[in-house]
Structures are given as structure tokens and as C-alpha cells.
Amino acid sequence: MSSEIDILLEIEREAERKILDARAEAERIVADARRRAAEMIREAEATDVRHIEAEYSKRIEDEREAVIKKYKSEAEAIRRAAMEKMDEAIELVYKWLIKGGVE
């Protein structure tokens, strides 16, 4: 009789150990998942955006040059048109001076 009780007690202890081991394993599984999650988030925080910056830098340069080119072209057109009126303008100033600034 007493040996049957001892056997049952031993079996209970064995069951208890299995459950405790399972709980320890469960904690390790969850802790590992948390560590991995934290690592993933850290990596995401350090996301490299240089490819975006490079793409825009090229675009900025191209569009800036286009704007300047447009204005240079406009300035040249103004110059060409004005040169055709240059003599008329010079005459206006010269005549005014020769008249002594009197209308």
C-alpha cells in the first residue's frame, strides 16, 4: 500500500516537473519573440533613405538648370531686341543734353 502511494507521489512530481519545464520553455519562446521584435524595430528606425535623397538631388539639379537656362534665354532675347532700339535711345539722351536739359 505505502509503495503504491510512493509511486503515485513520484508520478505527480514527474508531472509537476514536466509542467514547470513547459512554463520555462514558454517564457523563453515569448522572450525570444520580444527580443526579435525589438531588433526588427531598431533596424527599421535606422532605415536608409539615401536613395530617395539621391533621386531628388538629381531632380533638383536638372530643374534648377532648366529654370536658369530659361531666364538666360529671355535675357538674351531682351538684349537682342534692345540693341535694335539702341541708336534711338542714344539720340534721345544726346539731344536732351545738347538742349541743356530743357524741353
Binding site: 503515485l8 508520478i11 526579435r36 533613405v49 530617395i52 538666360k72 535675357a75 531682351i78 532700339k85 539702341m86
Partner: protein, 207 residues
């Protein structure tokens, strides 16, 4: 129930408990990793959006500066051309000074104008050294021409201190209290101020 049956029941119960514990832990771990993946996607999207927003702002700013630079270029081009007009007009004036027309028409005309403006019939003329020499040599004829233009007798003297001017004349009363400045240098400064709008209109006006 025998010992063996009890043993089996206890161990089977323990096994069910173990499986339940491990199953819940795996489900919990999967949930943690799934949520982390969602968070990672959110973070990456936010970083890329922020980078794009920052670079769009930089693009706008650079283009705005480029447009300002371009407009300055247009303004500078116009002013260079206006300056060219005045520069060339001045060259013509410098050629005109010392000509017959300068001595026979311009100078007496300016002196006559000076006489009317300052209100004196006796005046002193201030000119550059070359003009002093030339006019002094023909002073009587010169004074007669001025008197004709004014319509009454005008007495003229010439200052002994020549001016450092390109040409033209400064007319004063004999005591040098009142002046009429018809030097080309002063006229040119006035011309720049008064005629710039007209020059602009000629060079860049519509049509």
C-alpha cells in the same frame, strides 16, 4: 482504479497541460512578431515619407532661389543696356565739346538761359581751361550773341579759376552767390535720373 491506470491518467493530464502551455506561448510569440512587422512597415513608410517631404521642400526652395536669380539676371541685363545708352551718349557729347556748333550755339544758348534763370544782366562764366581760352579770345562777339538771344545787353566776365569739367558752363552773378549749372557733367547726372524711364520705354517698351 489500479496504479498503472492512475499513472497513465496523471501523465496524460500533464501532457495536455504542457501542450496547452507551449501552444499559448507560440501563439503569443506569433502575435508579438506580427505586430512588430506591422510597426516596422509603418516606421519605414514614415521615414520615406519624411525624406520625400523634406526633399520636396528643398526642391521648392532651390527652384524659388533659381527664379530669383533668373529675375535678377533680367533686371541686370536691362540696366546694363540702359548704362550702355548713357555711356554712348556721353561719348557723343565728348566729341561735340570743342566743335564749332558747341562754341557758336550751345555755349551762348546756355549762357542766355542762365541769365534768364538767375535774373542778373551781369554774369560770370565758369568753364574748363580750354573753353576759357577760346571764349576769352572772342568775348566781345560772344557777349553780343548772348545779348541778342536774351533781348537785352548782358555784361560777361570769365572766372580766373577754370573748372575741371568736360564741357558746358556754370553761370553765376558777379559775386558768385547764385548759380546756374549747365556743365555737361551736371547735365549728365540729371539726365540719368530724369531720362532713365524714357530710355527704358524706348529699349524695352511694348511694340
Amino acid at each position: 482504479m489500479g496504479v498503472e491506470e492512475l499513472r497513465k491518467e496523471i501523465l496524460e493530464e500533464a501532457e495536455r497541460k504542457v501542450n496547452e502551455i507551449l501552444s499559448e506561448a507560440k501563439a503569443e510569440a506569433e502575435k508579438i512578431l506580427r505586430e512588430a512587422e506591422e510597426r516596422v512597415a509603418e516606421i519605414r513608410r514614415a521615414k520615406e515619407d519624411e525624406a520625400r517631404k523634406r526633399m520636396e521642400e528643398k526642391l521648392r526652395s532651390e527652384l524659388s532661389l533659381a527664379r530669383i536669380e533668373g529675375k535678377k539676371l533680367i533686371v541686370n541685363t536691362r540696366w546694363e543696356l540702359v548704362d550702355e545708352v548713357f555711356r554712348r551718349a556721353w561719348e557723343r557729347v565728348v566729341s561735340y565739346v570743342g566743335s564749332d556748333e558747341y562754341y557758336n550755339d550751345f555755349l551762348p544758348r546756355m549762357v542766355a538761359l542762365g541769365v534768364s534763370r538767375i535774373g542778373f544782366d551781369e554774369v560770370k562764366l565758369h568753364m574748363n581751361e580750354a573753353d576759357v581760352g577760346r571764349v576769352r579770345g572772342v568775348l566781345r562777339r560772344f557777349a553780343k550773341e548772348v545779348s541778342r538771344r536774351v533781348g537785352r545787353d548782358v555784361k560777361i566776365s570769365i572766372s580766373n579759376n577754370p573748372l575741371r569739367i568736360t564741357g558746358g558752363v556754370v553761370v553765376s552773378d558777379p559775386d558768385e552767390n547764385v548759380f546756374f549749372n549747365a556743365s555737361f557733367d551736371a547735365l549728365f547726372n540729371r539726365a540719368r535720373e530724369e531720362l532713365a524711364p524714357d530710355v527704358f520705354e524706348v529699349l524695352f517698351g511694348g511694340g
